[in-house]
Every structure is written in C-alpha cells, then in structure tokens.
C-alpha cells in the first residue's frame, strides 16, 4: 500500500532518470561524430533529432550546438538538465519514500548539472561531462537497488524506467528501420552510432563479433533476451513489475497487467528469423502504441481512479 501520488512520482522519477541517461548517450554520440567527417556528423545529428522528435531541419547543420542544447537547455523539455531537474523534483515530492542513499545520488547529479559550473564543464570537456552523468546515474540505480526495499515503491520506479527505455529505444529503431517511405539506414558509421546510442556496442560484438549488419542489430536490439536495453528485455521487466504491483489491487483492476503480458509475449514469441528489415516498422508501431496504452492504464488504475469505485464497503 502506498499513496497514489507517491506511486505516480516514483514512476515519473524513473522515467526522467532513464530519459536523462538516454539523452546523455545521444548527445555524446553526436559530439563524437563532429570529430569525424562532417557529413557523418550531420547524418547522426539528423537521426538524433528525429529520435527526440525535433523536426527543425536547420539544427542538424550545427551538430555541436544541437548536442549542447540537448544537454544543457533548460527551455528544452527533453534536455538532460530538464529531465534531471524533473527527476529530482519528483524525488523531493517523495523524499520520505526513498532512502537517503538514493536521494543523495540524484541530488548530487542535479546540483552539479544545474550549478553555475555546468556550462563551463561542458565546454571544457563535453564527453567527460556526459560520461560523469551516466556514471552517476548508474550509482543512483545501484543505490536504489541496494538500499530501497524491493516493494511496491521500487516497482513503480522501475516500471517508469523500463517503460521509458522501451519507448526511447523503440523510437530510435523506428528512425533507422521503421519508415516505409525511406530505405532503412544501413551504412556502417550510422549503424555503429546506433549501437553506441543504445549502449550496445560491446555486448553486440561479443554476441555477433565485428560483423555489423543491420538485420543482426535489429534482432539484437529488439529480441535479445538478456541484453538489458533490448525491447524484449524491457517489456519482460514491465510485465514483471506490473504484475507484482497489481498483486495488491483486486482482480477487477488488472487491466495494465494483462496488456503488459500481451506485449511481452509478442516479443518473446516473435518469429525472429523471418522478420525482414523492411517489415520491422509495423511491429515497432505496435510496440510503441501498446507502451503508450500501458502508460495510460497505469495512471487510470493506480493513480487517478474514480473514488466511487473504491469506497470501503
């Protein structure tokens, strides 16, 4: 049992933390691309901007500025700074529910990223700046895992993280392989960039060796059972945490759990060998639609339910 508002805040805290980490990687890969050929940088910038839903064509022409604004622009709703501020604001709302160790980690990142030295730190060494945030976010996850009770609150936190992860990676794959009007992006530099953005380069190489092929990447990022950022892995965790959280509500209110089970099965039992690169779009659309539906159902079931239905007898 926990307050509905608290569950909501923990869920959003998870989403924003995940979003911040993802944006760090996107920004970092973009910045790295600027060091290489300029046309590669523009291409990567275009991919990243499409993945975050920014359709301004001029921005891709100055990849460094785009990366900088993705990191530091507080006016940008999707920037790292904004996400971390919101994660921390949600954490403050539920300060009594998270352990001091967990809070301190997040508060520390927030203070550094929003502090007066942040812009200079980014200018002096953007890669180190982003790398430090990612490393600190890993510490945050570790602190949450090691010090919070793995009960309902923790489940809502992870639910937010995995739902966000599935949606962010789903959108990224959509940009590469999902647009039926365009040919899938298959050049080597873009593909390794995709692996870096998904933090998947090393695990991919271990699994498939340095054979960088789009269909293998799609298979890995969509259907791998063990890779923690694959869509399959994320949906399995969503199902796991949602069914655990649903244990406490009566059977009439288990809508989101069933939806998550269906989505998980869709990826678990997909006919992986026969999926063609050009056909990935339909499945990605289904995945993203169902994630959005689960998000809405969580809100309706646990947070904003109507009081008439839940008055004690």
């Amino acid at each position: 049992m926990m307050l509905a508002r608290v569950a909501d805040s923990l869920y959003w805290m998870g989403r924003y933390v995940e979003r911040a980490e993802h944006m760090c990687r996107l920004s970092d890969v973009m910045l790295n691309a600027t060091l290489d050929r300029s046309d590669a940088a523009t291409q990567v910038a275009r991919i990243v901007l499409a993945a975050v839903g920014d359709n301004d064509p001029d921005k891709a022409k100055s990849p460094y500025d785009a990366a900088r604004s993705l990191a530091l622009d507080r006016g940008d709703g999707g920037s790292i700074t904004t996400s971390l501020s919101r994660a921390r604001e949600n954490a403050r709302q539920v300060r009594d529910q998270i352990t001091t160790e967990t809070w301190e980690r997040l508060n520390l990142i927030y203070l550094r990223v929003t502090g007066p030295g942040a812009a200079k730190a980014f200018n002096d060494g953007s890669s180190a700046f982003l790398h430090d945030i990612i490393a600190d976010l890993h510490l945050f996850r570790g602190a949450a895992d090691a010090t919070m009770s793995h009960g309902e609150g923790w489940r809502f936190l992870l639910l937010g993280m995995y739902l966000e992860r599935a949606q962010l990676n789903g959108r990224l794959l959509e940009v590469f392989f999902g647009d039926v009007r365009k040919r899938p992006i298959t050049d080597h530099f873009a593909l390794t960039s995709l692996l870096r953005m998904s933090c998947a380069l090393e695990p991919y190489l271990r699994r498939y060796t340095a054979d960088v092929r789009p269909e293998l990447i799609l298979e890995f990022l969509m259907f791998d059972e063990d890779f923690p950022r694959s869509i399959r892995f994320s949906t399995a965790r969503i199902e796991e945490h949602l069914s655990a959280a649903s244990r406490y509500v009566d059977a009439a209110h288990t809508g989101p759990e069933r939806m998550a089970g269906r989505l998980k099965a869709r990826l678990q039992y997909a006919d992986v060998e026969n999926i063609k690169l050009g056909e990935a779009g339909a499945l990605l659309t289904t995945v993203l639609d169902e994630c959005a539906a689960i998000h809405a159902a969580i809100y309706d079931t646990f947070v904003a339910y109507s009081l008439e239905m839940r008055l004690p007898a």
């Binding site: 049992m1 926990m2 307050l3 509905a4 508002r5 608290v6 569950a7 507080r74 604001e89 403050r92 709302q93 539920v94 300060r95 009594d96 529910q97 001091t100 809070w103 301190e104 508060n107 520390l108 203070l111 309902e152 809502f156 959280a245 406490y248 509500v249 646990f302 947070v303 339910y305 009081l307 839940r310 008055l311 004690p312």
Partner: protein, 493 residues
C-alpha cells in the same frame, strides 16, 4: 588558554545597560568548565582547518537537501540554512531546571486550553480577562466542548528560551501551533558528531535520536483508546513550504506516509488517503498546516492545502488532529503575560522559568509607559510571528518609532512591549575566526499521556554582528546544542 574573545558590548546597548551573558567565558575571561573540552580542541585547529570543516558541513546539508528555496524571477536557487560549526553546551544542572520548568509550563498550558474550551473557570475567576481570550484571533469557537484525549492539546511544543545577563533562562515565547526546527536539531547533531567526534565522545552528551519514535508514540497514544494500531500520517502543505524538508524528514524517520491535502478524502466523517490499492482510513494526523488552512469548510474557504470535511470528522471523534486546532490562543503574545498566573492557578506552584516583563498595551497605564519608552522597548504585534511586525526600539529610527506609535494608539490591544533583552552570546565560527554572536534556545516538548522534554534543542544564532534577531527569515542560523549528562541521566548510547 581561551581562544575566544568576549563580545564587544559597545555594539548594542541593552535597556538596562547589562553586559550579555557569555555561554563560554566568565566575566573574568575564563573558560567555563563545561566548555574546556571544546576550547582545547579549537585551539589545536588551524583556521584553514576550521574553514574546511565548515565547508564539509555545508556540503553535508546541501547533499541531504536540508535547504530552503529562494524563488527568483527566472530561476530558483536552493540555500542551506546557515549552520555554525561550534556546538553550544549546556551543563546538566542547568538543563534540569529547564526541563522541570518546561514540563510545568506545558502542563499548565494544556490545562488552560482544556478549561477555556470547556468550563472556562479561569475566566469566571477573573484570572485572565475574558475578552483577551475570547477575542484573540487564534481562539477557535469550533473547539468548544470537544473531547481531547489526555487533555493534550499541544502535542508538540517548541518554546523559545533566552538566557538573561544574570545567567538565568527565561521564556520569551511559547510555540503551541506548528513549531518547526526539530529536523535542524537532529541534522545539526549528525553534523557535529562528524565534525568533533573525539570531543563529542568525551563530553558525555545526551542522545536526541529517539525524538522520532517518541513523537510517533505520542501521536499513536492520542488514538490508542479506540484504535489498537492507529494509522498516523504527516500532513504537509507541500514541497514549496519552507519547512518541507522537515515534514519529509519526520515522516521518513517515523515510517508514516507524508500526505498533502489532495491525497485525503473525507467520506461519512471518516478520513481516508488515496493509495494505489484504494482508500485507506487514517486515525491520527500530525498536521504541519496552520489552523486556518486545514479545512475549507470550517476555516478559510480559499484554502487548497486542507481537506474539506476534516473538522467534522475530528468533531465526530473519527480522527485526531495534532496539535489540536485552537492551541494558538495559549501562545498568544498577550496571553503570554498571564502564564505565571495560569501556572499558579492550575498547579498552585510558582513558575520555575520566569517570563520576560511584558507590557500589555490594552491597559491604558501600560500603553502610556510604552509610548514614553519606545526607544528602549521591543514592541510586537500580538498576532504576528517570525520576527515580522515588530519594532526594536533601540535600533529603530525616530521616524520608524513615531510611525509605530501611531499604530499603537490606533489599535493598542494588538500590541505588547518588552524590554530589549541582551540575549546571551556563544562563540561562533565567523570568517575563519571565532567571534561571539547572540543566541536563543528552542527545546522541543512532547505531550500525550505524559510530557517529555527532548534532551536537546535548536540554538538559533543571530549571525549578523550585534544583531538580536535569530529568526531564519531575518538572517539567523543555527547550531547544535549539547546537553551534558549528569550523574543520574543516561549518557550517549
């Protein structure tokens, strides 16, 4: 060798010209025996080392989020409440008097509240003027004839004490509404244990870390008669309240949900909170929301912080609100002047802790005395708190005084006046050196079935040189307070 110096008394002139009491040094400049351990430790620290410790402390507070937010036009910044490194030390025998005095005082004030919201015997006997109580803005007619378990109206009380130039403590103010600061007491202790571990261990300081469980059992005790295992919650105005950190801190350490008004629902005169699995009944509300805002149906209609119907649920005996609404009438600044008589009336005892001499401007003779001596007195509006709405005569300009005199004549009943008291001074770390600053003392008293005085306190510090205003809203800070264990008390566990 004394490392600190005595205060520069020329900075401010007290109305009686007395030299403030120095917590560490005697008039002859010798270190008082209970301060020798700390004094020796400070002497061995270089000023750079002290500054480093101060930075470590500030970082600790910032990291913990023990901050208040200053909202600016474009962005908001978080500040820590300034905290001074050097603890203030109170020996066992002095504390014994404080403890007895505070217990006596709160017992009498709770009896006073039970009486004025019941038979009103004290008013009939003319000990306290009837209109003074019934006309006070903090008097709540709605509380009349309502049963309050153990007659414990003020479950949490934070009294402000000051040490007079003669060394004796006196009560400056009783806080019986929603006193705050206890989290700073606890956080300051954590910090000073880190800063001076050796000195702390050797000093035999009494432990305060049981405060959260004592608070919880006090709160549970308020409903124990009718609910075997009552559900306790902490009600906060929300994340934008300056004391939000404290609300979350207490909820966390008591293991109780921290709720806001929007989390609560009243149905059939029962109070419920919205949880992920439906509505769950609440029995005790430790509310950190002012009387006026707890229930828009009973009190202020425009309040969005409370719960509609809460007061009726309370009236029906289905929930306990702590502190009870209407306790503010007992810490009213005009009622304050009568507290010694109130103690005498109910307990037949003389007050152990004296009051500060207080002039009630509602009495014509006292008003003219106040008007004639505005340059020596501190004048306070009865209804205001936090250092607002007051005139410190000796520090005010002639224009400010004449404006205040007009306000006094227009509404004399709204004001009281007190002599300017030289608060005692304690050594503080200022710019890497040690300099005395004026301090007060806010201990915390819990009352339920019985009354418990926590063996610790928040020492508030007027960080500006010569200033007598310790409120955090006016540039005050705080420091840890070590109550030393005597022969009989349990030492640090």
């Amino acid at each position: 060798m004394a490392t600190a110096k005595r205060s520069d008394t020329s900075a401010i002139e007290a109305s009686d010209g007395a030299i403030p009491y120095d917590e560490m040094l005697t008039l002859a400049g010798e270190v008082r025996s209970h301060y020798t351990g700390l004094d020796e430790r400070i002497a061995t620290l270089a000023s750079e080392d002290m500054a480093e410790r101060q930075r470590t402390l500030e970082r600790f507070f910032l990291l913990q989020g023990i901050t208040f937010t200053v909202y600016g036009a474009e962005s908001s910044t978080e500040r820590i409440i300034p905290t001074d490194l050097l603890p203030r030390i109170i020996p066992a025998e002095e504390w014994a008097t404080i403890e007895k005095g505070l217990t006596q005082r709160l017992r009498a004030l709770n009896m006073f509240l039970a009486d004025i919201y019941g038979e009103q015997q004290i008013l009939m006997d003319g000990v306290v003027p009837r209109d003074l109580v019934l006309m006070a803005p903090s008097y709540r007619r709605e509380m009349q004839n309502l049963y309050v378990p153990h007659q414990a109206y003020a479950n949490v009380c934070g009294s402000d004490l000051i040490r007079q130039p003669n060394g004796a403590f006196a009560v400056l103010e009783d806080n019986l509404r929603v006193p705050s600061g206890v989290s700073y007491m606890l956080a300051n202790r954590e910090a000073s244990k880190r800063t001076f571990p050796g000195t702390f261990r050797a000093s035999n300081v009494r432990a305060i870390d049981r405060y959260p469980d004592l608070l919880l059992s006090t709160l549970k005790g308020m409903a124990a008669d009718w609910r075997p295992n009552p559900q306790v919650v902490v009600l906060t105005p929300g994340v934008y309240n300056s004391a939000y950190y404290e609300h979350a801190y207490l909820a966390r350490l008591m293991g109780c949900p921290l709720v806001e008004g929007r989390d609560l629902v009243v149905h059939d005169n029962m109070v419920y909170m919205r949880t992920t699995t439906g509505l769950r009944r609440i029995d005790v509300i430790y509310r950190r929301v002012d009387d006026d805002f707890i229930d828009p149906l009973t009190f202020r209609r425009d309040s969005g912080l409370g719960v509609a119907g809460l007061f009726n649920a309370y009236r029906a005996g289905n929930v306990v609100i702590c502190n009870a609404p209407g306790t503010g009438v007992a810490d009213d600044k005009a009622v304050y002047a009568y507290v010694p008589e109130i103690i005498k009336y109910y307990l037949g005892e003389d007050a152990i802790l004296p009051n500060i001499e207080t002039f009630l401007c509602r009495e014509p003779a006292q008003l003219s005395h106040v008007l004639a001596n505005l340059d020596k007195l501190v004048v306070k509006a009865v209804g205001a708190s936090g250092g607002y709405g007051m005139l410190i005569g000796p520090h005010a300009s002639a224009k400010e005084r004449s404006e205040f005199a007009d306000a006094l004549r227009a509404d004399p009943a709204n004001y009281i006046a007190q002599p300017t008291i030289q608060l005692s001074t304690a050594p503080c770390l200022i710019d890497g050196g040690i300099d005395p600053r004026h301090v007060d003392l806010r201990p915390f008293i819990l009352s339920g079935e019985k009354i418990t005085v926590t063996p610790g306190a928040l020492t508030r510090v007027a960080l500006k040189k010569g200033s007598l205003v310790v409120n955090s809203s006016q540039g005050g800070g705080s420091k840890d307070t070590w109550i030393l264990a005597g022969e009989t008390e349990e030492p640090q566990s």
